[in-house]
């Protein structure tokens, strides 16, 4: 499959500056693409647009040639956010958070090192790193075809980072999931990605 962003332009509201200007990118299922840019260059915004959450002012997002919003139900493009604590409902136990995903396999849960004990807890009762593992697991549902990883490891220590990334790389290679990784860290992206793309100031 191919995920394609065609000449995307975007800005928040009319007053603010142009964040993305005619930006195009194409990701294939077997690829792992890295995006590098300084803060405020619209990396997160771009991910949100790719996941169909924000509508671009111009341009379109195509999945296998069809606009993303024609896909109903579970979105084949899943996103992992930078701040795991904001993307889980504080009133749900982690077990329920996992259920939000699309039939998460036991192997994923094991591969990410999620312990049985954590699932009983509420989000406020586990650490950020533990929570990020749940968020990654949730995004790796059965029907996920593309994964957008927006600074997913910035808050983690180096050992955890390398654990998570090696699991992710293995998983996306095995299932042919296209990966888009966003980070400030060049060395990380050089290790993880097959291709790196620079977001220029527009």
């Amino acid at each position: 499959m191919v995920l394609e962003a065609k000449e995307i332009s975007f800005r928040y509201g009319k007053e603010s500056r142009q964040i993305l200007n005619d930006f195009s990118l194409q990701i294939e299922s077997h690829e792992r693409v890295g995006i590098v840019a300084p803060s405020g260059f619209g990396k997160t915004t771009f991910c949100k647009i790719l996941a169909g959450y924000e509508m671009p002012d111009q341009g379109e997002v195509l999945l296998d040639g069809k606009p993303l919003d024609t896909y109903r139900g579970y979105c084949p493009v899943q996103m992992i956010w930078q701040h795991p604590e904001q993307v889980v409902n504080p009133r749900l136990r982690m077990r329920e958070v996992l259920k939000e995903g699309d039939e998460i396999g036991e192997d994923i849960i094991e591969g990410l090192g999620i312990e049985e004990d954590w699932k009983k807890r509420f989000p406020a009762e586990i650490s950020g790193g533990e929570m990020q593992r749940f968020c990654i697991a949730r995004a790796l549902g059965k029907r996920t075809k593309f994964l957008l990883a927006d600074e997913i490891s910035t808050m983690l220590d180096l050992i955890t980072q390398s654990q998570l990334w090696s699991f992710l790389i293995e998983e996306v290679e095995r299932r042919e999931i296209g990966l888009l990784a966003v980070s400030h860290s060049m060395p990380l992206l050089e290790r993880v990605c097959t291709r790196i793309c620079y977001l220029e100031k527009s």
Partner: protein, 278 residues
């Protein structure tokens, strides 16, 4: 050396005490017909306006009816209609609030301007108008008060929903294909329920007063129904000669409203610790 005193938190114990008190009031109201020693509606003109004594603990009214029995049976109509009213406005108001907050757009503008109109009008005046158009009866009083009380709940719910609906975890739920109803049920309702329940419990006391108020004005319960407001209205002219006729239902209202308010306050401390008073 500085010492910091650790203040023990008695919130749980307080909740227990007030919870038991609220439970008792409700149980008394529920089983009032079986607990009373006299028929609250039986007139006994020979024993009219007896002061409190051994036979009649709270005295009798001008038709010789036992005040204690009437107050207990009156609890039923007053408290239960207040509870019914609170349930109705909570459900109705929060449903409208959720629709407005989540959906937005023209519907939101229309419903909110409508609620502005209701809020801008003095509530009791409006309730009196509605109640008198619909003729008396305690049920109509409930309907009249429901008409004017829902906007408060709609507003609270709406603002809460609007704050939550843009949280990233709602975005995440949308990406995993959750429909609107599922998002509201699973992600929004559990996060706003606390605030709504607290407001509702704190409102029970107010609603008891408003229902009693309408009945006092003759727009709620119709005689001979035992209802605290109408009982007070009956005793009004005898305040100087036989004060127990007005004091008995008055004290009942005072105590019940106080118990419900204290329970509501404590509940707020538990469910919504941010609003806690220093």
């Amino acid at each position: 050396m500085r010492e910091k005193k650790i203040v023990k938190d008695y919130t749980k114990q307080k909740m227990l005490v007030f919870g038991v008190l609220v439970g008792m009031v409700i149980l008394i109201a529920l089983f009032a017909p079986y607990l009373t020693s006299y028929d609250p509606y039986e007139q006994d003109l020979g024993n009219a306006l007896l002061p409190p004594g051994k036979e009649h603990l709270l005295g009798t009214d001008r038709y010789g009816r036992d005040m204690l029995s009437r107050v207990m049976v009156g609890a039923q109509s007053t408290i239960f209609s207040a509870l019914l009213l609170v349930v109705v406005i909570t459900v109705m108001g929060s449903m409208i609030g959720i629709i407005c907050g989540y959906h937005g757009g023209k519907l939101d503008v229309f419903l909110m301007r409508l609620s502005d109109i209701f809020l801008a009008f003095p509530g009791m005046v409006f309730a009196i108008a509605v109640a008198s158009v619909m003729s008396g009866g305690i049920f109509n009083a409930v309907v009249a008060l429901a008409c004017i009380s829902w906007p408060k709940y709609a507003r609270i719910t709406r603002s809460q929903v609007m704050a939550i609906k843009n949280m990233p975890y709602i975005e995440a739920a949308k990406l995993s294909g959750s429909g609107t109803l599922k998002i509201i049920r699973k992600h929004i309702l559990p996060n706003i329920a606390g605030a709504i329940v607290v407001t509702a419990v704190l409102d029970i006391g107010t609603m008891i007063m408003e229902i009693a108020g309408l009945s006092f004005l003759g727009l709620g319960a119709t005689p001979p129904t035992a209802e605290w407001g109408s009982m007070m209205s009956n005793g009004r002219s005898m305040l100087q000669t036989s004060p127990w006729v007005i004091l008995a239902p008055g004290t009942a209202i005072f105590l019940t409203v106080m118990i419900f308010n204290l329970a509501g306050d404590t509940m707020r401390d538990i469910l919504d610790p941010r609003q806690r008073k220093g």
